[in-house]
Symmetry: C2
Subunit: 471 residues, 2 copies
């Protein structure tokens, strides 16, 4: 069906439906995305402060066949928050739906509106001595509705799962403007199809999430962090297996990093103090959160000693203070910023089955070497099989020098991922960036099911058109 | 669309498509269900041994508009495995798809076909020193495809989640006979809509699950079990909170039971040795699985001492051997069998938000008392908010004496559950048994979404018609 722009007549109609405070200037913030790949457009920006007003906007847009771009914190990396072409959309920001509707520490549950900033959820949880474990670099500006719409991952997935694993129920406005009241605070509810998980990860193409019931966790009694030097990625995998045998679910994060990451930090963020005198080729950051009665430093020492004995690690440092834990984590968390400053030719958010990670890294290196002279910064969430596999120019060169090689690099990396049973979007989603890739690598049956579901729930196609599925 | 019976012409066509070994006698086993509420029917029973043959059956049925009943172990409690009326269906049994396709202990993954019996998966996992934690009373005959189709729960949900939380990927045949190859062994994969979770819990109405990639877990280094007497359900909740603060995720199960359950065991299973000299009114079974370095008995002793100090528990026994652990668990696991022998007037598989459980039990008791003289056996998975709330005749009476009160009891219990934000099907699903209840209590927007999805994916309506959604 043909969509229409949010033209002055449509906007005038919206002004009759919503209070003046719901209207925002069409400021650049709503029209940009962090990669700078697209310049957005909007006919109007609205920020309702209640679910009923969100529903009113969606009903009006459905009636007028005007596209809607749901907008959270704007931190997505695949362009899902941007309308780059076609009729000018309604940008529907959730920024004013930022109430915490209820905290239930006895149940380990918090009910929040979609516009609450992730870091504010962390704070609200810690006020009742609980943990909301979803954590990503953009936590200070990302909003939970967007985190759920994109099924955000981050550093604690190994222990606590992705965003979808931390959500018990949703309230959402569907493409026809109906409100789904699904804010259940239940751990078990087998009453029909799992619409919650269908909306989570649908990137705003099936409806607008307006509120969520989130799972909280107990704060581990004792936390500890170590850096350990490993010979290669296979040794890192074996170290993870050993750590799990010893500590079970207590491994909160297990991040693999390469010397290239440290070199980029030196190059781009020289003020950051690095924890190594001599940079190792491969190393891991291990974070543990233990039950009462276990000492994290001792547990990490036992692990290190056993791993050293088994030839898996050659060196290691266990954080002796919160400040040192923070310093270790800074290394990991600043690598994406260093990458941005160095400027990648092509970056890839991929996952492969854990046991083939070493083979993937080896073959990937050979393939990239065959395409030219590049630096590879491969790092990420080893325990989830999720690597950020990013390809950079040599020192002294610029990404633009390799502009015409980008597609070949991306294709080669994604072909290898696909051959090895992996995913070309582990945690960032499809957005607009990977629509072609999804068509190329996605299972055809899955794609036809997805199109059938989209057509059934959003027959006019107003919800975030062009995201995930081609218009 | 009108459906047709699997008549002799259709069966003759199937015989051209499948090898003779794929055909089974229409034996009573395929036409019965454990509650004895329905007598099933079938035009033909087929048991293909490969996915391609499952697809051939579905394509043939789709072409001829013949209904299909996917059949696992036949242990479901809501009639989802039975066609009670309408055109005679194809009963499509997965019993010959029972290969374990791959075990990946490094990844904590096992890939199995849908017909593998749950207990065989447990055995295969323990052979590689891993745990597959999904556990239900019917584990000796339930098949994993059915466990996933119904999103089975069980006793370890508190720690490890429901069936859906233990599945990484699926292979399935869709209602048009297409095969979806979604057997990914990935922890992170954000490539489009979550079809895996849509199929899980759809009770065979959206397709036939043929294989699954399952998550395994490390076996906890030390396991322990205790029975503790609590004053009331609120004390049990507080005890759970204390246990979580002390032991984090290590609480594997936390089951609340009432004296009525022990009385039923005495009445129906007098040979079972009971662990109490004097039966307490309320008690809990706590199961812990701890990381290396912690002693389960000591941890349970500390918990008991602190809980005693806080006035939460008055008595307790910690299992001193595997035999004693087993004996404690027997009490819990035999209660459903005792219930069956006593014969309930009405039984309810419900959940409510955890913090309102005490209020639910109190108000439920008052409501039932207002309806007549009954015994209530309320027990279940407290940590999941999931209670089996079953209403029985007084001793010396028979369930049939109260036949005309069943509907009023069920309605009263479900009304209360609904009022308190709960679910009228916590873990058993909707099947045929609760279609009316789902229409009564389900969110209307959710129901209309479900119907739209069903119509989009199964326009002819051949997949398990009458289950979840009315035909």
């Amino acid at each position: 069906m043909t969509l229409n722009s949010a033209d002055p007549a449509f906007v005038a109609n919206l002004r009759r439906l919503l209070p003046p405070a719901a209207f925002r200037d069409i400021s650049p913030a709503y029209l940009q995305e962090p990669r700078g790949r697209w310049q957005g457009q909007a006919g109007v920006v609205v920020a309702p402060d209640c679910t009923e007003d969100v529903a009113a906007v969606v009903r009006a847009a459905a009636k007028a066949c005007v596209p809607i771009i749901p907008y959270g914190g704007g931190t997505g990396l695949v362009g899902g928050q941007i309308s780059a072409n076609g009729p000018a959309p309604v940008v529907l920001s959730l920024e004013r739906m930022c109430a915490i509707r209820g905290v239930f520490p006895d149940e380990n549950v918090m009910v929040v509106e979609a516009g609450v900033i992730l870091a504010d959820i962390h704070d609200a949880a810690s006020k009742v001595d609980r943990l909301f474990p979803l954590s990503i670099a953009a936590k200070g500006s990302a909003r939970i509705g967007g985190n759920l719409a994109t099924n955000a991952g981050g550093v604690n997935v190994l222990r606590y799962g992705n965003a979808r694993d931390l959500c018990l129920g949703l309230e959402a406005v569907l493409p026809d403007g109906q409100i789904w009241h699904g804010l259940k605070r239940l751990r078990k509810d087998n009453t029909g199809y799992d619409l919650k998980n269908l909306l989570i990860g649908s990137e705003g193409t099936l409806g607008v999430i307006t509120a969520a019931a989130l799972k909280l966790h107990p704060i581990p009694a004792g936390e500890g962090t170590a850096l350990m030097t490993v010979k290669d990625p296979r040794a890192a995998l074996n170290l993870l297996a050993m750590a799990r045998d010893q500590l079970g679910e207590a491994i909160s994060a297990f991040e693999l990093m390469h010397r290239t990451g440290l070199e980029f930090l030196t190059e781009a963020l020289p003020d950051l103090r690095q924890p190594f005198e001599v940079a190792p080729e491969w190393f891991v950051l291990i974070d543990v959160g233990l039950a009462r009665g276990l000492n994290p430093s001792e547990a990490l020492e036992v692990l290190f000693a056993d791993a050293f004995e088994a030839g898996l690690v050659s060196d290691g440092t266990i954080a002796q203070s919160q400040a040192q834990r923070h310093a270790f984590w800074e290394v990991r968390e600043q690598i994406p910023e260093a990458n941005r400053r160095v400027g990648s030719v092509s970056s890839h958010d991929i996952s492969v089955p854990m046991s083939v990670i070493p083979e993937f890294i080896e073959r990937g290196g050979e393939i990239i070497a065959g395409l030219g002279d590049f630096r590879i910064n491969c790092f990420g969430h080893l325990g989830d099989g999720n690597l950020h596999y990013n390809v950079f120019p040599l020192a002294g060169h610029h990404r633009d020098d390799h502009r015409n090689q980008r597609d070949a690099i991306k294709r080669a990396v994604h072909d290898l991922v696909d051959e090895m049973g992996g995913s070309i979007s582990a945690e960032h989603g499809i957005g607009r960036l990977k629509v072609d890739d999804l068509e190329r690598y996605g299972d055809p049956t899955k794609l036809s099911m997805m199109r059938a579901i989209k057509a059934a729930l959003d027959p006019v196609g107003i919800m975030n058109p062009g995201v995930i599925l081609r218009e």
